[in-house]
């Protein structure tokens, strides 16, 4: 039996390295799976795959554009899963999508399909604690780690429940807003990281607005690592090849490793 996303990340963290999870929107280009390989080769600890949805309420312009492009190219959950099943990468893959795609059949069928294709984690940003019960049960039954989001606005009581119920890692939002590149990391991110680290031994990763290597390194100092999405997708939408995206991920990897020394 393969280890879970959480076990994998904890083992990686145990080697002393900050965790790095780059993102790609599935289906955004015909060769999007090459991007996944490039990320894995560049030192990613896991890869997040966006399953595109027509109305991505928590995404900024870059991921919206990537999602629209993927949908226009005929991307569907079924097609993504077929391609994922052919991937040969040695790091866990995590699906990121919205509730409407999860509830199309039943949450149990959705989770079973993800696991069957080899995915080990799932992030559903519009499914907060209030609505996550059935999905969390379905994911647990399939051995799929359901990652929950923690926000700067979350109360301490909510953060405690989020850290208890999240699996894989806890996804800490650096700021109140949508995905997208940003110039500065607000002070509230550091505070949220410290608070979450005090509540759980589960890995805590920062996401939203992690735009360049130095920022990634700075944030990783307040938690266990980072998710990088829009910065990579902007480059991809502007024509960057998988190799170039891999090089950028490698540069973030180096910054993280240097920062950890």
């Amino acid at each position: 039996m393969t280890e879970s996303l959480e076990e994998f990340l904890i083992a990686r963290r145990g080697t002393g390295r900050p965790l790095l999870v780059p993102y790609v929107t599935a289906g955004v280009t015909p060769g999007w799976t090459d991007v996944v390989h490039a990320y894995a080769d560049a030192g990613a600890d896991a890869v997040e795959l966006g399953f595109p949805f027509s109305d991505p309420m928590l995404d900024g312009v870059t991921i919206q554009e990537a999602s629209d492009r993927a949908i226009a190219a005929g991307t569907t959950v079924r097609k993504i899963l077929e391609e994922v099943a052919t991937l040969d990468v040695d790091v866990p893959l995590i699906a990121m999508t919205y509730s409407n795609l999860v509830v199309q059949q039943s949450t149990a069928e959705f989770c079973a399909a993800l696991t069957a294709s080899g995915l080990r984690g799932l992030i559903v940003p519009d499914s907060p604690l209030e609505e996550v019960g059935e999905l969390a049960d379905a994911a647990a039954a399939e051995g799929l780690d359901l990652v929950l989001l923690a926000a700067p606005s979350s109360s301490r009581a909510r953060l405690r429940e989020i850290t208890e119920r999240s699996r894989g890692f806890v996804y800490a939002l650096t700021h109140m807003g949508t995905t997208g590149e940003r110039g500065e990391i607000p002070e509230q991110a550091a505070r949220l990281g410290r608070e979450l680290k005090g509540l759980t031994d589960r890995p805590v990763l920062f996401g939203f607005g992690v735009s360049h290597p130095a920022q990634a390194a700075e944030l990783a100092g307040h938690a266990d690592g980072v998710v990088v999405a829009s910065a990579l997708m902007r480059k991809l939408l502007d024509g960057a090849r998988p190799r170039e995206l891999g090089e950028y991920v490698a540069s973030i990897r180096r910054a993280l490793d240097q920062g950890a020394r």
Binding site: F53, M57, D59, V61, V77, V103, P125, P128, S153, M176
Partner: protein, 405 residues
């Protein structure tokens, strides 16, 4: 349970679960619909608004302030007008609840004054709103001006072209109108953009949702603020009609706020409740269960779960979902949802204008169109009484009507 006969005067048995449109409780569920499908970042704001609304709604001072503004500012109660000539033509007795005569020209003002008072009470400085036809945007801009708040209104680029007059009105009222250029560039995308903006400005901004949609407590709260339509109409019918209650209560449905407010006044009576959707945006008729804009309901979507664009002659009905309580009323059989097409709507608009001297909004004309069709086909039995909520006036639609003629 829920079996309805649509001929003669056999009335539906009202299922207990939907007998009254009441408080959906902490989970915000109407049966399996509703809920709070928003990112964690917005959850504290939803809780804060729910707590503030519960407190305000049971505070006599708040209610009295709202009632006063609805009376001296918004022009309530709106009249119940007998449609004499059209009734004669159709062989029925038709009454119109005249929300077109409310300040700003539609029922939207009822909800917006309520929410603006709440935002003010919560210490918020800015109202955010989405708008389709522009009526909710205009109402929001109006209430913001009245209470000294700022207003930012998100509107699809395509709707901005279709509703130029309302964009000008919002500007004159001091609101900022933000064109939304993503997706179908209509109401659905304006909702997405308003949500995104809300996430990043939740400390000082209040999202004033314009219909019975969005995360809990909005569907419930907006229905409560619109309940005034149904309660007034109920009392007016009681005074006007020999039997006190009409046979049919009819309203148009986009997200469904004027219908929800209307139905709330009649849900515990024998009246048949009819919501009329645009054929190209009929989520209650053609939708499947899904999650959009923070709530679970019936949603127009393709087989892969991508939300499809709604298309109709009325920008205010171009919404691919329906309020969660409507989905629940439909499933329970307490309300029935019908569709009419653009051609019928235009004919109905002209018919009402020429028989009654009332220029209704294209949205409201959907309800009129169904009544005309159903009365002519005999589906509404001759001699029946019909109470129709005329949600707004048609001045804003003159340019569209000119093109269609």
């Amino acid at each position: 349970m829920g079996e309805m006969s649509w001929s003669g005067r056999q009335y539906a048995t009202v299922p207990a679960a939907t007998r009254a449109m009441r408080d959906p409780g902490a989970t915000g569920r109407f049966g399996t619909y509703g809920g709070r499908y928003v990112p964690e970042s917005l959850i504290p704001a939803c809780h804060e608004i729910e707590a503030a609304f519960r407190e305000a709604w049971s505070d006599p001072e708040f209610r009295s302030r709202l009632d006063t503004l609805l009376t001296v500012y918004a022009g309530r109660p709106t009249p119940l007008t007998p449609a004499w000539r059209l009734s004669h033509e159709l062989g029925i007795t038709l009454f119109l609840k005249r929300e077109d005569l409310a300040h700003t020209g539609s029922h939207k003002i009822n909800n917006v004054i309520g929410q603006a008072l709440l935002a003010h009470r919560m210490g918020k400085e800015r109202l955010l709103a989405e708008t389709g036809a522009g009526q909710h945007g205009v109402a929001t801009a109006t209430a913001a001006a009245l209470l000294g708040l700022k207003a930012t209104v998100f509107m699809g680029e395509r709707d901005i072209e279709r509703q130029e007059l309302n964009v000008l009105r919002m500007n004159v009222l001091g609101a900022e109108v933000v064109p939304v250029t993503t997706g179908s560039r209509t109401l659905k995308d304006a909702c997405n953009e308003a949500m995104r903006h809300w996430v990043s400005s939740v400390d000082d901004s209040y999202y004033c949702i314009g219909s019975v949609m969005g995360p809990h407590p909005y569907p419930w709260m907006v229905r409560e603020f619109q309940r005034v339509i149904g309660e007034e109409a109920r009392a007016q019918c009681a005074a006007e009609l020999p039997v006190g209650v009409p046979d049919y209560v009819v309203a148009c449905v986009g997200g469904g706020s004027n219908a929800a407010g209307t139905f709330a006044g009649f849900v515990d009576t024998t009246a048949r409740l009819i919501g009329v959707e645009a054929e190209g945006g009929a989520a209650a008729t053609f939708g499947r269960a899904g999650v959009l804009h923070g709530f679970r309901s019936l949603v127009l979507q393709d087989e892969d779960g991508q939300v499809t664009e709604a298309h109709s002659v009325a920008a205010g009905l171009d919404y691919p979902g329906i309020g969660p309580e409507h989905a629940h009323l439909r499933d329970g059989g307490r309300a029935r949802y019908e569709t009419v097409n653009d051609g019928e709507v235009l004919q109905a608009l002209l018919c009402l204008a020429r028989t009654e001297g009332i220029l209704a909004a294209l949205e409201s004309s959907h309800a009129v169109a169904w009544v005309i069709r159903a009365a002519r086909s005999g589906e509404i039995a001759p001699g029946s009484t019909v109470m129709l909520t005329l949600s707004g006036r048609g001045d804003k639609d003159i340019a569209s009507i000119k093109e269609l003629l």
